[in-house]
């Protein structure tokens, strides 16, 4: 009964937060609501017995995405302040619908309601419990080198998908760089509280990341969770004014960004040459190979997330300069 009440509250809370976030005319408020939504969503995943997803949702969905959104908002503010006509360049959604669009709005609402109803019916009609591939995964878990079925699927059974996902992360950085690149910025002094806090928290974050990485072999955790916690440490350091040295921003940065993807590629080539089978690990070595892959992937994920934050929060000078040229 208590669980049922909690789940109901959670469900309605999620819907309410989502609606408020979408409907808010103040972008800052919308982002804060979005972060709260992410945290509640993580709770929902816990209730659904998916702690791995919950960890990722809390760290990436609520934490890093929130930080990126706030950084983007700060930049948007800086741009509109410089532009006199800024308000028209970046319209904030207004509560009033434009005139004459009542018919199309009505049609849109009708279409959306119909598709939501159809989807709800389809989901309702599904069997409440489906085994899917979990029996298959359990049967082969002993050969996978790890004890956590989620890690076994991500790094072994479907390691090829994860390899491509690492490329997606790399592509995200390349995409952001192609938009404006990364500018060097001097260190900024910040409030003493933030500095003390980051000094205290960074080692804790690193320790937590290492724990998540190690424990991922047998319990919820793994490269994505560890990487996002480590990335959060990086964001915290960047927020407290720390900037990596110029030398570090050249090939060491590129090496860290490509470490995870590169490890997958090299392992793929090696297994193809030696075993004639792409990404097939020898059973005896599988555990060690997965740990190696996950460690390098953790570094890449963390650096990717921190660099995305740095790229979004820096370099709005060049961007607005381009706008003026046009």
């Amino acid at each position: 009964m208590l669980q049922w009440a909690f789940d109901t509250m959670l469900g309605f809370g999620l819907l309410w937060l989502a609606w408020r976030a979408l409907n808010s005319s103040d972008l800052f408020k919308a982002i804060v609501l979005f972060i709260a939504f992410g945290l509640l969503m993580a709770l929902a995943w816990v209730r659904l017995n998916a702690p791995d997803v919950a960890l990722a949702e809390a760290a990436i969905g609520a934490g890093l995405t929130g930080a990126l959104l706030l950084a983007a908002l700060a930049r948007l503010g800086a741009m509109t302040d410089q532009n006199v006509s800024g308000a028209s360049a970046y319209p904030v959604p207004s509560a009033q619908p434009p005139a004459g669009s009542h018919f199309s709005r009505g049609l849109l609402i009708l279409l959306l309601s119909a598709s939501v109803a159809g989807m709800a019916y389809a989901i309702w009609s599904l069997p409440s419990y489906a085994t899917g591939l979990s029996m298959d995964v359990a049967a082969h878990l002993d050969d996978s080198g790890v004890g956590n079925p989620v890690t076994a699927v991500l790094l072994n059974f479907r390691g090829y998908d994860t390899m491509l996902e690492m490329m997606v992360l790399l592509l995200a950085v390349l995409g952001v760089w192609s938009l404006g690149g990364l500018q060097q910025q001097p260190e900024k002094p910040v409030a003493a509280v933030l500095e003390t806090l980051s000094r205290f928290l960074t080692p804790v974050f690193i320790l937590a990341a290492a724990y998540l990485l190690w424990v991922g072999a047998d319990a919820p955790g793994g490269a994505f969770q560890a990487g996002s916690v480590l990335g959060a440490a990086g964001v915290l350091l960047l927020l407290s004014g720390w900037r990596p040295r110029v030398r570090l921003m050249q090939w060491p940065l590129r090496l860290a960004l490509t470490a995870g993807a590169g490890a997958f590629i090299l392992l793929g080539l090696l297994t193809l040459l030696l075993e004639k089978q792409f990404l097939t690990y020898p059973v005896a070595q599988a555990g060690r190979m997965i740990l190696l892959l996950e460690s390098l992937a953790t570094v890449s994920i963390a650096v990717t997330l921190a660099i995305l934050f740095l790229s979004v929060s820096s370099g709005h000078k060049e961007k607005s300069g381009k706008g003026e040229k046009k």
């Binding site: 019916y121 591939l133 790399l170 192609s178 490509t258 089978q277 990404l279």
Partner: protein, 489 residues
């Protein structure tokens, strides 16, 4: 020889561009050579894969050694192979164009993203797993958006943003369909799903979500609103990649799902897709006719030509093999012609500093190769013999008439006439003198030849229709024993 045949060319076609792209990130100074070597290597790998498929039948490789449905299988039959050949050849042409097109600053950004896009396309055409298809689709979409925004110009950023939102919405709808199918049938492997799937509410919803998402990503009218600004504002080689290859990726997934999973029970939905295709032909062609800029004209022409691809669905009752063959052939033909057109448009833009059709100012005298490329590609788009566009559209017309679908046949003919209208509009201005003369800049010969060779490819493909259809018919031609003797020989 047999040792060459035993090489897993499919895996190499994915790994090579991934390694090349990663190398570009690590050593930006080596981007261009790394890019050209990788793209050439992919062409060789696809040739090897084609040879292997001709000898041994369908290609299959169990990644990780697990085998579907637990693991992921790479899979290539005739249809996949044609799409792979299309990607490799068109990609090679565009790469040699891009070699001269980009400034050193933009080249460093272009090559790694293009190589990852190439890897994603190869992986997509080699996939037989609906979740793996999602991953490759997402990778394709992100790379395409990043390429669109490459120049950082305001219009390119606007086009890219719109493209990003459309492509993400499409992927999410597709992913929701994947989740429903997995919950319903307990597998993400297409072959396993095909055995288990029954038409019920979940499957119908998945069909609707996946088809809508993929149609959005393929820019099927009226979901094509994002295509013209994105394709017209991107740099010329990127426009060529987007129009020739990227929209074909989502089209291929839809076609594959339809052939293997949904086609048997979704006749009504096939009719709807065909109807939208017919509307796309008319609307896209009329819009193309109205444009005053070449790149927008070519982009709207893509909207129209995508419509032809969707006419396959209502006409597919002729049999899956023939439908797949027509779709693959039309897609290949369009990829060659449209890439040539965008590259030619890029040359005209570089030459005159603008792409206003009315001010082409005797381009035919000053850039004869480029105008020839545009004209030859136009011949294929209009569907005049002996081009591949003619053969593809003729087969489609023949299927429509033999099934009594006169409405579709009429739309196809009108579409051809409108295409002739917009192509001759460009060519006409290329022969006349503009009122105000413009300064002209030199265009490197390599860029002119890249466009021309792709256009010649679109014509030559017209003579190879029987070979393409023979490839589609590739099945498990060799039984296990014979395969064994091939391996040991």
């Amino acid at each position: 020889m047999s040792s060459l045949l035993a090489i897993d060319w499919g895996v190499i076609a994915i790994l090579l561009p991934l390694a090349g792209g990663t190398a570009c990130v690590l050593w930006p100074a080596l981007s261009k050579p790394a890019g050209l070597i990788s793209v050439t290597g992919v062409v060789l790998a696809i040739a090897g894969l084609g040879w292997r498929i001709m000898e041994n039948g369908i290609y299959r490789h169990a990644v990780g050694g697990w085998g579907a449905p637990l693991g992921i299988d790479l899979f290539a039959d005739g249809l996949s192979l044609i799409m792979l050949i299309m990607t490799a050849l068109v990609g090679l042409g565009i790469s040699f164009y891009a070699r001269r097109y980009f400034s050193p600053r933009d080249a460093v950004r272009f090559w790694p993203i293009w190589l990852f896009l190439l890897a994603a396309l190869n992986a997509l055409f080699l996939s037989a797993d609906i979740f793996n298809l999602y991953v490759t689709l997402e990778m394709t979409g992100l790379a395409a958006v990043a390429l669109t925004a490459l120049t950082g110009r305001i219009d390119a950023l606007g086009g890219a943003m719109r493209y990003l939102l459309a492509t993400l919405l499409g992927s999410l709808a597709y992913l929701l369909g994947v989740a429903l199918l997995y919950h319903d049938a307990g597998s993400v492997d297409i072959a396993t799903l095909a055995q288990r799937i029954q038409p019920n509410a979940a499957v119908w919803t998945a069909l609707g979500l996946m088809s809508a998402g993929l149609a959005l990503k393929t820019a099927l009218f009226p979901l094509s609103f994002w295509l013209p600004p994105a394709h017209a504002s991107a740099p010329a080689p990127v426009s060529a990649l987007l129009s020739a290859l990227v929209v074909k990726a989502s089209f291929y997934i839809l076609l594959r799902l339809w052939l293997e999973l949904f086609g048997d029970f979704a006749q009504g939905a096939s009719m709807l897709l065909g109807l939208l295709g017919a509307a796309a032909i008319l609307w896209g062609s009329l819009q193309a006719l109205r444009q005053t800029r070449i790149k927008l004209l070519v982009a709207y022409s893509t909207v129209a030509q995508i419509g032809y691809l969707f006419l396959i669905y209502p006409l597919a009752s002729a049999g899956n093999g023939i439908a797949a063959g027509m779709a693959a052939y039309l897609a290949f033909s369009h990829a060659l012609a449209k890439s040539a057109m965008f590259l030619a448009a890029g040359n005209l833009m570089l030459f005159g500093g603008h792409d206003r059709i009315a001010d082409l100012d005797r381009a035919v005298q000053r850039l004869p190769l480029t105008v020839a490329a545009f004209a030859l590609a136009g011949v294929s788009i209009m569907g005049l013999p002996p081009s591949s566009g003619f053969v593809g559209k003729w087969l489609l017309l023949d299927a429509a008439m033999s099934q009594g679908r006169w409405d579709l046949a009429v739309v196809m003919i009108i579409g051809g006439l409108l295409a002739a209208g917009y192509i001759f509009k460009v060519l006409g201005y290329a022969f006349t003198q503009a009122e105000v003369p413009h300064d002209a800049r030199a265009v490197p010969a390599g860029m002119e030849w890249a466009a021309l060779l792709l256009a010649i490819g679109a014509i030559l493909l017209g003579f190879m229709a029987s070979e393409i259809f023979a490839l589609i018919a590739v099945d498990l031609v060799v039984n296990a024993d014979e395969a064994g003797t091939v391996w040991t020989a």
